[in-house]
C-alpha cells in the first residue's frame, strides 16, 4: 500500500543522510536511506572493512522492576533470566498459537532493567502486546522516540569503537550502558560490530564522529539495501518476510531461541505439539545452480510440476555472485542437496537446498 510521504517518520539523522547523498525510500513506515554509493560497494565495505547504518527506525522498549526477568521468561521464547548484567540474547515474541509476532534482542542493562530492541514495523504492536501481559513488579516504557540508533559493522568496527571512545567493546552479544548511550556488541550482518543507541539530539553528531574516525579504516555509510543483502547471506530472518504470525520458531529454524527448561511461556503448548510431530514445513536456504536472474521474495518454488513453496527473501549475493533465497518447503523435501526450480517471469531456473548460512565470515 503506498504511504503518504507526509505520514512517514523521519530519522533524527535524516538531514545528514541527504547531505551525504543517500537515496531515501519508505521502509516500515519510515523514510530511510536505502543506499549511498551503491549496495555492492556498501556490502563489500562491511565484509572487508567497516560500514555504518542508521537504525534509528528500530524500536527500543525498556522493561524494569523486580519481576522483570521472570516476566520476560513468560512472555518471550528464550530464557531472559539466564542473562547476567551486561549480556544480550536473541528471543522471539510469540502469540498463543506459537506464531511469531516479532524477533528481538534483550539486553540486561542492570539488575532490574532490560532493553528490548525490536523491529521498526512492530514497535507499536510489540508494546501493545507486552503491555497486555504486564504484571505487578514490571514497568514497561516505549522509549523508541528518545533514541537514535546506528549499527557499525565489519572487521574494523571494534578498532573504530576504541579509536572513537577510547574504550573496548563489550564481549560478543554484550551490552553496556555508558554515560552518553548504550553500546551493544550485536548486529545484523554476520560481521563483528556494535550497535549504538543514544539520545536523538546527539545521533547525528555520533554518526559523523564514527564516520570521521573511520576514514582511515575505510568506513562507508551504508543503507538498508546492503543491510538486507548482508543479513540474507548469513540467513538472518527478516520479520514480515521470513517470519510472521503464520510461522513458528520451529518452522523458521529458530528452535535454538526457545527455552524448554524454563517452564511456561506464551505459545509453548502449540510449539510442544509441533515439536512432537515435527513441523510440516521448514525455512530452507536455496542457491541458484545456474545462470539466472536474481531470485526475489514472492517467486514460486517448484518440484517437478508441483508448486511447493514461495520465496520469502531473495537476492543476488554480492559476496558469492550467485542468487540466494529462503523459502518454507515441506519438511520431507527440505533436505540439503535437493534440487528445485524457481519460476522467474514465467521461466524456471534450477536451484538446490544448501546448508545455512550461505556465507561464512572466514570464507
Amino acid at each position: 500500500m503506498p504511504m503518504d510521504a507526509e505520514l512517514l517518520r523521519r530519522s533524527p539523522l535524516d538531514s545528514l543522510h541527504r547531505e551525504l547523498g543517500a537515496r531515501c525510500l519508505p521502509f516500515a513506515g519510515w523514510e530511510m536511506p536505502i543506499q549511498y554509493a551503491g549496495i555492492m560497494e556498501e556490502h563489500r565495505a562491511v565484509r572487508e572493512a567497516v560500514g555504518i547504518f542508521d537504525i534509528s527506525h528500530m524500536g527500543e522498549l525498556v522493561a524494569s522492576g523486580p519481576e522483570v526477568l521472570p516476566w520476560l521468561d513468560r512472555v518471550l521464547s528464550n530464557r531472559a533470566s539466564a542473562l547476567a548484567v551486561g549480556e544480550g540474547q536473541y528471543s522471539l515474541l510469540l502469540n498463543e498459537e506459537g506464531g511469531i509476532i516479532d524477533d528481538l534482542i534483550v539486553y540486561r542493562l542492570s539488575e532490574e532493567e532490560v532493553l528490548l530492541v525490536v523491529n521498526a514495523s512492530m514497535e507499536a504492536e510489540d508494546f501493545r502486546w507486552l503491555s497486555l501481559q504486564a504484571t505487578t513488579g514490571v514497568r514497561l516504557e516505549n522509549r523508541s522516540a528518545l533514541y537514535a540508533g546506528m549499527a557499525v559493522q565489519g572487521p574494523r568496527a571494534s578498532a573504530l569503537y576504541e579509536k572513537t571512545t577510547g574504550c573496548q567493546l563489550p564481549s560478543r552479544l554484550g551490552a553496556r550502558a555508558e554515560e552518553s548511550g548504550v553500546v551493544c556488541r550485536t548486529g545484523y550482518t554476520g560481521e563483528d560490530g556494535f550497535e549504538w543507541f543514544c539520545p536523538v539530539g546527539e545521533g547525528a553528531a555520533w554518526f559523523e564522529r564514527f564516520l570521521d574516525k573511520g576514514k582511515s579504516l575505510g568506513i562507508q555509510p551504508c543503507g538498508l539495501g546492503a543491510r538486507d543483502s548482508l543479513r540474507l547471506e548469513v540467513c538472518y530472518p527478516l520479520n514480515g518476510s521470513d517470519l510472521s504470525l503464520e510461522r513458528t520458531p520451529l518452522e523458521a529454524g529458530l528452535g535454538w531461541a526457545v527455552s524448554w527448561e524454563k517452564g511456561h511461556f506464551i505459545g509453548r503448548e502449540r510449539l510442544a505439539e509441533q515439536k512432537a510431530l515435527g513441523p510440516p514445513e521448514r525455512l530452507v536456504a536455496l542457491r541458484m545452480t545456474g545462470k539466472s536472474p536474481p531470485p526475489r521474495s514472492g517467486y514460486e518454488v517448484f518440484s517437478g510440476e508441483v508448486r511447493v513453496g514461495t520465496l520469502t527473501s531473495g537476492t543476488l549475493s554480492p559476496s558469492l555472485g550467485v542468487g540466494i533465497a529462503m523459502a518454507y518447503l515441506p519438511t520431507l523435501e527440505a533436505k540439503v542437496g535437493r534440487p528445485f526450480e524457481i519460476e522467474i517471469r514465467g521461466r524456471r531456473f534450477p536451484a538446490e537446498v544448501v546448508k545455512k548460512p550461505f556465507y561464512h565470515r572466514e570464507s
Binding site: Q35, G225, K291, P293, P294, R296, R345
Partner: protein, 126 residues
C-alpha cells in the same frame, strides 16, 4: 552530473535511441542506470522478436530491484548485446556505448517524432 548526449533521442521511460538508417540501437540513459545502480543481470529480447512501441521488451536487474525496459519504437530485434550476459555492469559504466541493449529494424519512422531530444530529456529528469 548526468550525461545526456546531444545526438540521441530519449523516451520518457528513460531508454535512448541512436538511429543508423532504419536500425535503431537502444539502451538506458545514464540517469536510469544511476537510479538502478549495480546492475547484476540483464534479460535481453529474443532475436527476431517483433515489438510495438511501449511494449515491455527487456529487464534490467540490480541487487535490490528489477526494472522493466520498454520499446521506444516498434520493430524487429536484429541484434542483442551478448556482452551483457557476462558483464551486466557495462550498463553502469558505459550506458551509451558498450552498455547498449539491443538493435531493432524500425517499422514506423514516424514514431521517432514522439521521442525527446536531449534538451527535453534534461527537463524530464530534472
Amino acid at each position: 552530473m548526468v550525461n545526456i548526449p546531444e545526438e540521441l533521442k530519449y523516451a520518457d521511460s528513460h531508454e535512448w535511441v541512436a538511429l543508423d538508417d532504419d536500425i535503431a540501437t537502444i539502451g538506458i540513459s545514464d540517469h536510469a542506470q544511476a537510479e538502478l545502480t549495480d546492475i547484476v543481470f540483464v534479460e535481453v529480447p529474443e532475436l527476431g522478436a517483433t515489438f510495438q512501441a511501449g511494449d515491455q521488451i527487456a529487464v534490467v536487474e540490480s541487487v535490490k530491484a528489477a526494472g522493466d525496459i520498454y520499446a521506444p519504437v516498434s520493430g524487429t530485434v536484429v541484434e542483442v548485446n551478448g556482452d551483457l550476459e557476462s558483464d551486466p555492469g557495462l550498463i553502469n559504466t558505459e550506458p551509451y556505448e558498450a552498455g547498449w541493449i539491443y538493435k531493432v529494424r524500425i517499422s514506423d519512422a514516424a514514431e521517432l517524432e514522439n521521442l525527446m531530444n536531449a534538451e527535453a530529456y534534461q527537463g524530464h529528469v530534472g
